[in-house]
């Protein structure tokens, strides 16, 4: 059995979409595919952290365009994790 801290580190890296991701065997999701459900956490985390960055750097968002800012933000979140 994995200690909780190791499990949380693995999950956090999976949620931030950093390889290697958590094994599907460690998760359950009713009748659904657990790794597909993991993507909900990935999307939630990326969009909420991106929203925080956009609120902190509103001028940069206007200078570089929101679409480019979102791309850079998601790369930043992935690498900063």
């Amino acid at each position: 059995m994995l200690p909780l801290e190791y499990l949380q580190t693995t999950m956090a890296r999976s949620v931030l979409a950093i390889e290697p991701t958590v094994s599907a065997k460690m998760l359950t999701a009713g009748k659904a595919d657990p790794l597909a459900r993991l993507r909900i956490y990935q999307n939630n985390t990326r969009s909420s952290l991106t929203a925080v960055l956009m609120a902190v750097f509103p001028v940069t968002v206007r200078l570089v365009d929101e679409r480019f800012f979102r791309y850079v933000a998601s790369e930043f979140i992935r690498r900063a994790g």
Binding site: L7, L27, G30, K31, A32, A36, L38, A80
Partner: protein
Amino acid sequence: MSRAFPPLAIPASAGIGLRSPHISEMLTRRPSAGWLEIHAENYMGDGAGVEALERLREIYPLSVHGVGLSLGSARGLDRDHLARLRGVCERFQPDLVSEHLAWSVADGAYLNDLLPLRYDEGALAIVARNVDTVQETLKRQVLIENLSAYVAFADSSMNEAEFLAELVLQTGCGLLLDVNNVQVSAHNLQYDAKAFIDALPAGAIGEIHLAGHATNQVGADTVLIDDHGSRVPPVVWALYQHAIGRLGPRPTLIEWDTDVPVLDVLLGEAMWADMLTASIMFNRKQAARQAEAAKPRPMPLTPFESVRTGMPVLAAFAAAKAGLVTPAALTQMEGGYDVAA
């Protein structure tokens, strides 16, 4: 130096989550709302919002709901964040304080989302230690909220309800029952929502949350997303009815976080929660009265005792009508008159 506020107790009725677009209207209109709940993290600094909340705190009972403490983190609590939470509690002197059974921090990263735990003895020891630390720091009981989840861990040794019940025993914490979260998790993870509510220690539940969720179709999978972005749906009202039937009235919060509508929509949802609770309690009282009426009555000891009406004097009228006044007494009286005549 924090100012002193009137100690306003949160009633066992509905309140609303205070959201920034509604603050000025709350201050000018002062609508009837049982109580307010804020997210602790939004009031950890200074600014116009904090000053507005101090004014609202004079009028409305307040609940402080934390979303960023990460009670489930194996690494332990962020002491700085806990100190900020204590600052909010000292400043606003809320009647209730709550947090989540979840974790958001691991490997040095803050995920800004609430992730589920693996429910086992190891996790229980960690969460219990963290809850003890919070309760000692805040010098008060906190309520712990059940989670909305999209995955669970395969090697959990207990379910979330059993974990929460054990946490209550070990720490003396209370529970915040989020009925929408029960529905979302029970659907997504395929378990019985009512059985989950029934497994919680009823006496520990000090607050209920109600909200809406989104329904997403991903291939063959219908997944409920806990977005707090719509009215409370019928399935959540039905589950709330079940909960109130078991628990009796409890402070109940209407939560709305995405696509926040005008204030009156939140107040309307709170009104419905109060009406549903009142209707459940009224029906229960009626049923108890009918059961009482159906019971065979023992012989009355004194003439008026068996007659039940609202006014004591009416019992005398009703007893008289039923001929319960003993003929012997009347005869004696009539006899007395005879003598006098």
